[in-house]
Amino acid sequence: MILALLGLSIGAAALYVALARSSEPADIQVAHAGAGDLALHEHPSVGLCPWREPERDRRQFFPTSTDVREDTLILSGKRTEVARQLGRPATGEENALKVYRILNQEQLLGSFVARRVRGESGVIELLLAVGTDGRIVGAKLQRLREPEDVAHVLQSASWLGAFTGKDRTSSWQLGGDIPDVPPAAKTSAAAVLDAARTLLILLGVADGSAAPGTDRR
């Protein structure tokens, strides 16, 4: 009887230890995370960015569109290419890209992609309308909490309009290819430009286009 109780106790203890250990892998994963992943932890998570005004944006950038198809493109297998084009290691959140395909019946007109970026005074949500050739059709800041003077510059047609026609190989030089902004707006402007370039690269790599203007989907 005593031996049976002893056996049961040992069995229960072993089960407990096994269960306790089974909840540990997450910690182990963090401990062995690569440098790129650790760098990501230093900043708040970018996360997925919603598309806030689909109807309005479709009418504005693709007036002939009739339909939208939502795709989630997985880039984890193309991290090396993404990193090469970005010039830095891809973050964990750059393993996937949500793309809204804009259609006219069955014909693809272009795509919308969005990204959240760290502005100087809060989050900025950038929405890009991208043509089938990989060039920007239009850009919009969905959300920002910059001071009025900064917001005015960043949302101006002259500044955002300069994005039109750019592709992932274009130069995104502030003050060069893109109109300069006042010093107070430089940080946020740089963040928006980086986000635009990143989105185009991610979209291009995900779609497998070898060069701008090639749509191999």
Binding site: H43, P44, S45, R118, G122, P147, E148
Partner: protein, 386 residues
């Protein structure tokens, strides 16, 4: 006398053992029940304390709507004068009265609603779930903001970053980010109360006052007094508090009933043993009387035997409670669906002392009559026996 009592008990080892075991089980049950009762009460009280707020002063209007809105971090159309805070803080039953000024700034086109909450340092004891993920524990200056975890994630803010409020033109420095708590606090922007009052043009006004009492039992008096504050009304978290008090009351009644039963059984066991012992040892006790033992000495001998049985039983019972208590707690947790967190077994010195006192009392009560019977045996009975 002690030697004689011990010898008498050891002569009938099995019966003494059974009696001691009976007392031990009774005292063990008593100790466990008292310890669980105390642990459960402490646990519930701890959880209630963990909830922070017990009542809330809100402006006149629908009180439950107001309380619900405030608890969810939403704004109210009307506000309280700052004098209501003084009234609340001066009340003898109030331990903490924390002023809140809330304002929401919706911007539907951007899919965001900024929920700003002005607080002062007194809110901290009411927010025990606040754990800092990063930054300092409190506002560095008037333009500091502490962000809920979701708010920080949504705005991509780190400690030291700037957060601008376009609607009010105020610029803040993020001084702290809270860990995720699962409450509405996760999506709020906390700023100093005076800053909020200036920012939303509400000087000397408050949205609500969150109150914690020194003792939940003082709630009725506190409500009565605070209800008299002009322009304010009091909302209690009555359902929660009522449930809490009912649970504690029910547990206490149950514990006391079972404990009384255990003690009664224990008294009867010892009584039976001692009475049987007296009957068996009638001749022996009469001889004791015949050789010169006084009635008082015979009475003391029997009473001591009863006491020894119950003290030994009590000590073993306490040991049993300590050893088996944890296993019983695990069992009890399966039966109680809403058991509070933390240990349910609170076997304190007070509980141990109570059990020992009950054990001694049992010995005295159960031993009195048999001892009295033994002391009344006439010495002539001994001669008849011989």
């Amino acid at each position: 006398m002690m030697t004689l009592a011990l010898q008498n008990l050891s002569r009938r080892l099995f019966r003494s053992g059974i009696t001691i075991a009976g007392v031990a089980v009774a005292v063990g049950c008593l100790a466990c029940l008292l310890a669980f009762g105390e642990g459960y009460r402490n646990g519930l009280r701890r959880e209630l304390d963990g909830m922070g707020v017990q009542m809330m002063m809100v402006p006149l209007g629908c009180p439950y709507d107001a309380a619900a809105r405030v608890l969810k971090g939403k704004t109210l159309d009307v506000s309280l004068p700052l004098t209501a805070l003084t009234t609340a803080r001066n009340d003898s039953a109030v331990a903490v009265a924390a002023p809140l000024l809330m304002a929401t700034l919706p911007r539907p086109s951007e899919g965001r609603t900024d929920c700003w909450v002005g607080v002062d340092e007194s809110v901290r004891p009411l927010k025990p779930w606040w754990k800092l993920k990063a930054g300092s524990t409190w506002f560095g200056d008037a333009d500091s903001v502490i962000l809920g975890s979701e708010a920080a994630a949504t705005e991509l803010r780190n400690v030291g970053d700037t957060l601008y409020s376009p609607e009010t033109g105020r610029r803040f420095k993020v001084c702290g980010i809270l860990e995720r708590s699962g409450t509405s606090d996760d999506s709020l922007f906390f700023i100093p109360l005076h800053t909020a009052q200036a920012m939303f043009h509400q000087p000397e006004r408050l949205t609500a006052i969150a109150i914690r009492l020194k003792d939940p039992g003082l709630i009725n008096g506190a409500i009565e007094r605070l209800q008299q504050t002009p322009g304010a009304q009091v909302v209690t978290l009555a359902e929660m508090l009522g449930t809490f008090l009912n649970l504690v009351g029910a547990v206490r009644t149950l514990v006391m009933a079972v404990a009384a039963l255990a003690v009664t059984i224990s008294v009867l066991t010892v009584f039976n043993t001692m009475l049987a012992s007296v009957l068996e040892r009638t001749g022996e006790l009469a001889i004791l009387r015949a050789v010169g033992a006084s009635r008082w000495q015979v009475f003391r001998l029997l009473a001591l035997e009863a006491l020894l049985l119950t003290v030994a039983g009590s000590l073993i019972g306490l040991l049993l409670a300590i050893v088996a208590g944890h296993s019983i707690e695990i069992l009890v947790r399966h039966l109680i669906t809403l058991a509070p967190d933390g240990s349910l077994l609170s076997l304190s010195a007070r509980v141990a002392g109570q059990c020992l006192l009950v054990g001694l009392g049992t010995g005295i009560v159960a031993g009195l009559y048999p001892a009295w019977q033994a002391s009344r045996l006439p010495p002539a009975r001994a001669l008849r026996a011989v």
